[in-house]
Amino acid sequence: MSRMLSLRIAWRFLRSAPVQSLLIISGIAVGIAVQIFVGSLITSLQGSLVDQTIGSAPQVTFQALTDGDPVRYSPKMQDVIANDPRVKRGSVSPVRFATSLYTNGTDSASLSLIGGELRELDGIYNVSKRVTDGTASLRATDILVGKDFAAKFKLTPGDSIALTLQGGSRATFTVAGIFDLGSAAFNERQAFVNGDVPRSLLGWSADQYSAVQVQLVKPFESAQVATDWRRKVPGVEVVEWQAQNADLLVALQSQGSSSYIIQTFVLVAIALGIASTLAIAAVQKTRQIGILKAMGLSDGRAGRIFLWQAIILGGVGSTAGVALAYFLLFGFSFSGASFSIQPKLSFVLLSAGVGIGVALASSIFPTRRTSKLDPIEVIQNG
């Protein structure tokens, strides 16, 4: 018992007040668990929102300076895209747009056509994987329509549909497959066709496109990438998703800062809890500390008793908090939410570390009080 005497005394003191110790450990555990849960929830929610918004959409796009004009997919442009490591491999898709109108006799709806190579479209929209019915194929007269459009007009794979294309010509397509890209608006109004369909309609040459769409490894680098490309490829317009989704970004940001506020308050609550518990413990044990000091316990070792208490409470509380957080996250996975929470190990460890750090910080007062206590005060006052 001579070795680590301060720790052993700390442990004994904690055990002598088990209810008090358990309460504060529970307090820390709940606090840390909330901290981890809320932090992970917000991060995952944001990731999921961003993914929903731009995961299946172009993030940086080349287009003509004037709306409706073609942009030339020049060797220079191909070069710039191919040599930029920020571009996600295989996620470059030159596309041509055309508008059309579908009528089935009673109802009609406009349908925007996106023309391109299936393999390239997959790089942006991941169409093949999202075809839920029929086959993902874009041969000359194939069309892939969204599930909401198909439901509205009771279309199934193999059906023929006639469209009035922009400019007034009519063309007949075969519904090859029905896709679900996760957005009802997209599923209802957009369709994929072979790239030659809009090309012949618009009378463009093989290297002329409505847009060249690109996805990035890190979507939040889009503004920088766009700036670089504007400089490298003059004479075309480069647009990026962040500029077009300012509202979403503001929402994400304020969600992020409200999460920080919650986490800060949780930490403050933990700190106050530990600080008050330790302060009370230090006062309760004044008599014992005085006796120990009269017997020769040094100021430093006496002070360390409460430092150890903080480490024990903070350590056990934080560990229990991490366990509780994983339990909550496990429970959440059955909640039926549209996204799953992936707690980052680094964040979990950081939270636990912060818990212990806060515990240590809140032990400063009792530690100093204990270390300063003069044994004569206790001996004289009985």
Partner: protein, 236 residues
């Protein structure tokens, strides 16, 4: 030729300042040899506890100095004073001051735990010896709270003996005990003193007890008014 254990030189102690100040000690001087068995007597409030706390390196005089084995206490840093209290001095107070969170064995062994120099086996042996000396065998594992008043005070004495101190200070150690227990405790003190060469300073109201020591220091109003050698021990 007896070695000098401690010297109290012109000790003054004033509590508080101005109007409300209490002059608890006025120019108290005496010397105590190694192994000496002394009593401090005097009326309540005369300054006995104040004197004992100063000799025990727990309190500091307002003027004058305490020299313990030649070292001036005032010149020593707090950690060194703590170390000397641990190694050289054993305290028994009027109230037992046991630690309720620890077992009887742990309470007795605590001074050795604090000292940190003895091997666990040695600590065990010494604690058992001290407990046996005080007739506390079999109570090692008990909690301090489970003991009677007399047992508690005996545990406190065993604890004070644990580090085989050069000086054992006892402030009215039998104040809460009946006559039978009081006699037992004093017989024990004498026995320990004879066996180990530990010096004793015992504060007591009890003239009968004081008569059985080698030396009686009498304090009145903060002054040492009498310092007499007693033949009792030598006579028996």
């Amino acid at each position: 030729m007896a070695e000098k254990l401690l010297v109290a030189d012109s000790l003054d102690k004033v509590y508080g300042t101005g109007e409300g100040a209490t002059h608890a000690l006025r120019g108290v001087s005496f010397e105590l040899n190694e192994g000496e068995f002394a009593a401090i007597v005097g009326q309540s409030g005369s300054g006995k506890s104040t004197l004992l706390n100063m000799v025990g390196l727990l309190d500091t005089p307002t003027a004058g100095e305490v020299r313990f084995r030649g070292r001036n206490a005032e010149a020593l840093p707090r950690p060194e004073l703590a170390r000397m209290r641990n190694e050289l001095i054993g305290f028994v107070f009027q109230f037992h001051y046991l630690l309720p969170e620890f077992s009887v064995f742990e309470n007795v062994a605590m001074p050795a735990f604090i000292g940190g120099t003895l091997a666990p086996g040695e600590i065990q042996a010494r604690a058992e010896e001290a407990l046996a000396l005080l007739g506390l065998e079999g109570l090692e594992g008990k909690n301090a709270n489970q003991l009677s008043g007399g047992q508690k005070q005996r545990v406190a004495i065993a604890r004070a003996l644990m580090n085989r101190p050069a000086l054992l200070l006892a402030d009215e150690p039998t104040g809460n005990l009946d006559t039978v227990n009081t006699d037992l405790v004093y017989d024990l003190f004498r026995k320990i003193s004879a066996e180990t060469g530990t010096a004793f300073m015992i504060v007591t109201h009890d003239r009968g007890v004081a008569q059985r020591t080698d030396r009686i220091l009498e304090v009145t109003d903060g002054r040492l008014v009498q310092d007499i050698r007693n033949d009792y021990a030598r006579a028996t």
